[in-house]
Symmetry: C2
Subunit: 255 residues, 2 copies
C-alpha cells in the first residue's frame, strides 16, 4: 500500500532551512516562544514522502497529524463512481490530518503528495494533550479550523455559482496569493504542480474542458504556462474575469 511506512523516509537531523519553516507553520505560528521547546517534545520526527504517494487515505483511522514542511499535497475525496474531488491544495505550513478523537472516526478525505514532500508528524494523542494543557493552542486550533472552513465556504460558493472560466481563474489567483506569502512567486511566474486533471477535479469540471478554458485564458493574454510554471500576465484582469475582489481575496487566504 502506498501509505505504509515503507514509502516514507525519516529525516534526521533537521536541516536549518526546515527548522526555519517550523516557526511559520500553522499550528504554532502565533504561540509564544516558550511553547516551542515544549512542542518539540511531542514532535515525532520528519519524513520525506515521494510524489504520488498517499499520506493518508479516506476511511483510514488516523492516529497521526502532520505539518507540511515542503512540497504540495492534494486533499481529495473519491466517490463510489470513481470521480474525485480535490478539496484543497495544501502548501508548506499547512496542518493536515488532525481529527478529534470522536470514537476513532475514520478520515473523511485522502491526502496525496503532488511533489516530493517533507512532513512533520505528531501523534494524535499528543495534539490532544497539548490542546488540553495549552488554551492558547486550543484557540489557535479553533482559528485554523475557522480559517479552513471559511475557505471551504468560498470553494462551495465558487463551484456552485461561477462558470468554469471563473473557477479556474480564481484557483490560479488563490494559489498566487498563497505562494506569495511563501516567497515562491517571482514577478508573475509561479510554480504549478497540478495536472489539468487535478485542476479539473478541484473546480468540478473535466480535464478536457480545463484545457479548453486555459486556451481561452492564454489567447486572451491572461496566462502563459509551460511545464510546472505558470505566469499570470494580468492579475487585475484575471480577478475581474473571476469576479473576485483581489484585495479581499488576498487577505482571506487561510494561511
Amino acid at each position: 500500500m502506498a501509505q505504509d511506512s515503507s514509502s516514507r523516509t525519516r529525516i534526521e537531523p533537521l536541516t536549518p532551512c526546515i527548522e526555519c519553516e517550523i516557526r511559520e507553520h500553522a499550528l504554532f505560528r502565533p504561540v509564544e516562544q516558550t511553547l516551542l521547546d515544549w512542542k518539540q517534545r511531542y514532535r515525532q520526527g520528519q519524513y520525506s514522502i515521494p510524489p504520488k504517494t498517499q499520506i493518508y487515505t479516506e476511511g483510514q483511522v488516523l492516529d497521526e497529524a502532520y505539518t507540511l514542511f515542503r512540497g504540495w499535497v492534494a486533499l481529495t475525496k473519491t466517490l463510489p463512481t470513481g470521480k474525485r474531488q480535490v478539496l484543497r491544495i495544501a502548501l508548506p505550513g499547512d496542518f493536515l490530518g488532525y481529527q478529534p478523537n470522536q470514537l476513532e472516526r475514520p478520515s473523511t478525505h485522502s491526502a496525496v503528495a503532488l511533489t516530493e514532500c517533507v512532513v512533520c508528524l505528531f501523534p494524535r494523542s499528543s495534539v490532544e494533550t497539548m490542546v488540553f494543557e495549552q488554551p492558547d493552542l486550543a484557540k489557535r486550533l479553533i482559528e485554523i479550523y475557522q480559517g479552513y472552513m471559511a475557505y471551504c465556504q468560498e470553494h462551495i460558493t465558487s463551484i456552485g455559482q461561477r462558470s468554469a472560466k471563473q473557477r479556474i481563474a480564481e484557483l490560479f489567483l488563490d494559489l498566487l496569493y498563497r505562494l506569495r506569502r511563501r516567497a515562491q512567486v517571482q514577478g508573475n511566474r509561479m510554480p504549478l504542480y497540478l495536472t489539468q486533471e487535478d485542476i479539473g477535479d478541484a473546480v468540478g469540471i473535466t480535464s478536457v474542458h480545463v484545457s479548453r478554458v486555459m486556451r481561452q485564458l492564454r489567447e486572451a493574454g491572461l496566462i502563459r504556462y509551460k511545464g510546472h510554471s505558470l505566469a499570470l500576465l494580468d492579475e487585475a484582469e484575471l480577478a475581474r474575469v473571476a469576479g473576485v475582489n483581489p484585495e479581499r481575496m488576498a487577505g482571506a487566504r487561510p494561511d
Copy 2:
C-alpha cells in the same frame, strides 16, 4: 435594516420546551452537568426572530454567537453579481456565528431565518473566556468545527462531482437524517421550509431546473410534496440515485 435589534424579541422566561433543548445543543451537549450552571451565567438571553430576517450579515463584525433553539436558518454567501450560495441549512441545536477574535474579522457569510426562529445569544468574549477556562469546551468546539468542515467537504464534493438530480436527492436525504435526530420526521414525511430557489442556491442550480428535477423525482415515485411537507417514498432508491451510502451518510451528519 433587517438585522437590527428591533426585529427580534427577547423572550423571558425560558419555556420548559426550550429548556429541554438546551441540553441537546451543539456546544454543550457532551459536557458534564456541572458546566450547565456555569454556562448559564454567560448566556445573554433568548430572542425570537421573524421569518426572512437576517440574523447577521456577511461583512458585519460580529460580537455575538448564537445557538439555534427553534426554526430553520440558511447560511448564505452572496457574490458581487447577486448570485447566492446557500452554505448550510442550520437546524435546532446548531451553533452559529462564532469566529475567534482574529483582528475583528467580519463574518464570512450571512444567516437568514427561514421560519420564525428562537436563538440563544452569547457575547463572543464569553465564548472565548469559556474556551480558555474549560478545555472540555475547547475540545468540543474543535469537534464542532471539524464536523462542520467534514460536512463542507461533502458539500464541495457533491456540487463538484454530482448531477443536479443527485445533488437534490442528497440534500433531501441529508435533511431527512438530521430531522430524524430531532424527531421531526413522521413516517416518510418531513417538514421542508425551503423554496425551490433556496434548494437551487444550496446545490448550485437554478430554481427552474430544480422544478424540472423534482418533477422527475415525483414521476419516478421517489418523492411527494405539498406546501412545507416533503415525503420521501423510497429512501433506499433515493440514496441509490444520489450515489450515496445511506448508513454512512446518516452517521456522518454534523449534528
